[in-house]
């Protein structure tokens, strides 16, 4: 700890010095400008006016009301938090699940989607990898034909809810190929090459003995 603190202190001191220097540096030019810019104050040049730096807003329609376009592109910074081991597991080709370690808790089964805390007794859960191959049964399914904006799977595709032995839950995923029916056995596979770093990194394929 002591070793780590020393360089931090140094950094802080350096920052302080830099700030102090900046203050000195920035004050001086301002003063100079003030002395020489009395005329400019009266008739400011374009440089000192507020400029429109956005893109012109397009009018989509004018009647019966004016309707404009309002474009935007946004990136959110999203954390997987305490569920990070699940997504790391997918990249490594493993399904990671959580289990409540509290002996007094009545829920003994595994959770996928995982939870960091048991909803019944609030105990912090522990992680377990499901042994490969993970075989499940299709509980229900749908064919997604018309999907929303940003869909990352080629439509149409089969979305499947899979009953995995030992789980309290029935997680949602997709079938890579084939046609599902309720009760059909399927095997989990993983997108370890070029992973998407999302829940789409695992999926199911028909399982024949």
């Amino acid at each position: 700890m002591a070793k780590k603190r020393a360089p931090l202190k140094k950094k802080k001191e350096l920052k302080k010095k830099a700030r102090a220097q900046k203050k000195v540096q920035t004050k001086k030019p301002v003063q100079i400008k003030k002395k020489t810019s009395i005329k400019k104050k009266i008739r400011p040049k374009g440089k000192r006016q507020v400029n429109f730096v956005g893109q012109i807003t397009r009018i989509r329609q004018a009647e019966p009301a004016t309707v404009i376009e309002w474009p935007r592109t946004i990136t959110h910074i999203h954390t997987y938090g305490m569920l990070s081991p699940f997504f790391k597991g997918l990249r490594e080709g493993r399904l990671m699940a959580t289990r409540c370690p509290n002996e007094k808790c009545s829920e003994k089964r595994l959770w996928i989607p995982p939870r960091a805390h048991c909803p019944d007794c609030h105990t912090e859960m522990t992680w377990e990898a499901l042994p490969n191959p993970v075989i499940g049964k299709i509980y229900t399914f749908t064919e997604v034909v018309y999907a929303g904006t940003g869909i990352e799977l080629s439509t149409p595709y089969w979305q499947v809810d899979v009953d995995i032995p030992g789980l309290a839950t029935i997680p949602k995923s997709f079938l890579l190929y084939g046609e599902p029916h309720i009760g059909m056995k399927v095997k989990a596979e993983f997108r370890t090459k070029n992973p998407t770093n999302t829940v789409l990194d695992y999926y199911w394929v028909p399982y024949e003995k």
């Binding site: 989607p113 018309y146 869909i151 309290a168």
Partner: protein
Amino acid sequence: MGMITFKEGNLRIPKWNRKVFVVAGGTTAYRKYFPDYKLEELVMIAFKNTLEDNNLKMDPLEVKGLINFAAYGEFADHFQDQLLCQAKVHDYLGLDPLYNVGIKTGGATGGSAILAAAMAVASGYANVALAAGWERMDEVDTRTGNFYISTAACKDFETRLGRIYSSYYAPMANRFAWAFNVSEVTRAKIAVKNHLYAYYSPYAQQPGKYTVEDVLNSPMSAYPLRFLECCAMSVGSACVLLCDEETAYKLTDHPCELFICGGSHTLRVADRRHMEVPLLPHETPGMYKDLYLKEGARYPGFESFLASRFAAWLVYRMAGIQNPIQDLDLVELHDAFTISDLQTYGDIGLRPYGQEQDYIESGDAYYINPHTGKPGECPSNLSGGLIGTMHAVGATGIFQAAECLWQLQQKYDQFHSDPKTWKKWGKEKPEDWESLQIPESSKQALWVSHAGVGSHVTVGILRKSW
């Protein structure tokens, strides 16, 4: 096996500290694209409709002068692209500096806003409370709108697997059909019925006289749900006015007493662990013992909604409902999809679980029972519902309540028949218009406001009190 277990305190039946009444309702028409008005302008139109067109015994501005509190329903900031919309609307309605709260519980937002307003009246915070809701879903194209809605599925484990809500209901439809042996014709009949009832409403966005074949031949959204089985994506607003007993009778000779309760369940269907069925007053222990014997069968599983069942479980006891199909004269259900409508019949006890389809097949759900030619036992969604008329999400549960109120007050024609109302919304009243007014002897109506794949549900009951 782990399951949800209740302790006694959890099962307390809600009780108002004083009675709560609904005296007036108002709405706009609903459209897919509605550039004619800004959002707050639409809410003003619904608010004026509430104050001016409900035969209240006071001048509209005098009624406004009685309001103490407002609860505002809005589903998604994504759609409005305006945080604190409530402040804009509240100011626009001229209600400052009264307090208001914004309510957000997905598709159940409208119901929850009414619950919040009712709590204000029941507690004594307010004598008169406004519940208003809205949604403006036309700032983005349809697929982007569907993506926005799908962010009301779990963003880490579900949203990317469909980016459209039909793909979260469709697996339930397949499981439901498999578990309870239901033909898709039954679902199609629900779509036909609700589009048809919307045909008689000047507010409706998706009216139409369709056949079962039309529904089954319409484009697929997510198998087996077709476009004609899916709700509208709407712009519009609705309001209701809630009062204490004394004020209610000052304002009208025809107030309806209000009971409303809510329930909730996991956002992800995946996480619904098996549990015992909470029994409604008319159900008997053991009646479901054979229903969940199939391998992998769970309650509520993919077939039912615990949130709806729990809300009904509470409100039936709160309102003293013994047998819903007999005691209720009208229901307005949250038919976001044909399948969710069908599922709900079991949850609220119109039929036992496993026999939901019989509510449609028997003709009980119709204004006129197609088998007998007589009024249906307990007609459903005479407003046209979400499939036929509207789903401007924050307004939906409020619009449904207004329709229930008008039906009990014998004002269906007043609000649906006047050619001026049709003209106001740029429509012509159909020559073959028919009244869907329920009989004067009707006493109680129920409406369901429902979110997610059953994450939040309110069940409200209006009781004729004159």
